[in-house]
């Protein structure tokens, strides 16, 4: 899907060559498309039981480590993975490396809001205990991502807090808001939990602990509501008929909420592009992830991020201590 949709895409498929080679034809990668696809062999795999840091030691031959190495060496512009999130983060932060001037890379989740548009929530788990300066950087990077990759003009940016008023929040959120007021972006002040869904903001920045808890809570709540409605409807004949008649309408709505459209979470602030998708991604979600990576690269996302950073100390080297 991605190769067919984007003529300027050249795809390196990293994994076990013996397994990947027969798949190319099966999934329609032949003729002209095959000219833009290449298998790069990687013998190892990071499983869900492995530690994220395993790629630094015994899993150096894993596909995610090999793929990150390709980006590090300039042989690829970005990496897209639907595997072990922690391993993909470690590979991106330590193998590809942190962008100069960026304090901490952060994971951005693109959530579908009730206006049918995306809200970028970040950080959703690359960090905990983030400092105000870091949260302000998350906001800045999220704003540039929304503009360049999601095509949102002048994204409205907020800092997640416990009330709309400037006085509400912690010392950290107030300082972050203060920093953002001085920067050249469309800062809308404090956002509240409900603003993630109502479309009042395009980008909402917060500490990774908070973002992670909200992301996981929201996924579970949405699934629970949908499953609960389904179970309740299937309990009687009449309501089952009703459910069938309303099926199209329900599907149309569910599509609005569909994660697959936005295709994974970008890890912002690394040299190169890194998109980390949900383990349950379908083909469309993976294709969307590849599209996002391609856009980020073509729109010079990282160049824009670096030029926007308020101060560039330049001595930020990715260190193993950053690994969690």
């Amino acid at each position: 899907m991605a190769l067919a949709a984007h003529e300027d895409l050249y795809l390196l498929l990293v994994g076990d060559e013996a397994k990947l080679a027969p798949m190319l034809g099966h999934y329609g990668i032949k003729g002209d498309l095959a000219l833009r696809a290449e298998i790069v062999h990687a013998a190892g795999v990071v499983t869900m039981d492995d530690k994220a840091t395993s790629i630094l030691k015994d899993k150096k031959d894993s596909s995610i480590r090999v793929a990150a190495q390709l980006v590090r060496e300039g042989k690829a512009d970005g990496v897209v993975s639907m595997g072990h999130t922690g391993a993909a983060m470690v590979a991106s932060k330590l193998v590809i490396g942190t962008l100069e001037g960026v304090d901490r890379p952060c994971l951005a989740s693109v959530m579908p809001n009730m206006k049918g548009r995306p809200t970028v929530l970040l950080d959703v788990g690359a960090n905990v205990d983030s400092k105000a300066e870091q949260i302000a950087q998350f906001a800045l990077m999220g704003s540039i991502y929304a503009e360049e990759v999601l095509g949102v003009a002048s994204p409205r940016v907020g800092i997640l807090s416990v009330g709309e008023e400037d006085g509400k929040g912690t010392g950290t959120t107030k300082t972050a808001a203060h920093i953002l007021r001085e920067l050249d972006l469309n800062f809308g002040g404090n956002a509240e939990g409900r603003d993630i869904w109502n479309g009042n903001f395009d980008v909402i920045a917060c500490d990774g602990f908070v973002g992670n808890a909200i992301l996981k809570s929201s996924e579970s709540l949405a699934e629970g509501i949908v499953q609960g409605l389904r179970d309740s409807i299937s309990q009687s004949f009449i309501s089952k008929i009703g459910g069938l008649l309303a099926k199209g309408a329900i599907r149309r709505f569910m599509k609005k909420l569909d994660y697959a459209e936005y295709g994974g979470a970008p890890l912002l602030g690394v040299k190169g592009v890194s998109i980390i998708g949900h383990g349950r991604s379908n083909g469309r979600a993976v294709a969307s992830g590849i599209r996002a990576a391609l856009r980020a690269s073509e729109h010079h996302l990282n160049e824009r991020i670096q030029n926007s950073l308020p101060h560039q100390s330049g001595n930020h080297v990715a260190l193993p201590e950053e690994v969690r």
Copy 2:
């Protein structure tokens, strides 16, 4: 509803007597029921535009302040309010006062989970930047509330974190978990965002900033999904018919998610009982709030909380600095 359901309930109705008096008969408070209801006049009202601290200065005659005063003076066991949340918190913390040995009172939200049972999430906004010892106290108070008021036997208690494993989280969550492991309760370790909804835990403790963001995000997401489904279904004739046929089933499910059943958030850790309900509460929700207050009082919630506190320094006086 509350008077009819609970024979041991004596209700003080605090507000403008001229407005309240005619309502008694209108809402069926007559005959025997009227013997257990009494109006206490309060001339003032805290409006949504007022600051929470207004009750300390120019709104000393407000109904919430007068009601809290009744509890302080031992004329009432508890207060139930569906008004200004901040004002109710200030009245409870500063007029009624903090329970001896409790560091910070906290607001507990009783959320309906997918197993159709309640999950107590706390703190949801009485504090921000909570220390580990405070989060451990929240967990302990939540566990006792779940047991005594919600009737959950040996509630399973968790600390909200970013992963199930003990090593995941911040220094604060790890220390809080360490404290709870030493206490006499059913501690289940780290909970994740999804555990708020899946019923794996009965009580989940976190900092008020995080809890508040999750609560507001969840309310908005659930409303958005329900509204979005409704809108989508009403767009075609066929799906409208389907929606009508499935209406009963949808309603049965929505009842499971209904806040009204659990009736408001208790502010735990104050001398006396304080239940703070949603501004949009219906009659059933208010009756549930009154029932919760009655149970908390009858089951000696505060005595149990005080006896369970690991250390009782006793020098915790409610100070105006606590007001946010």
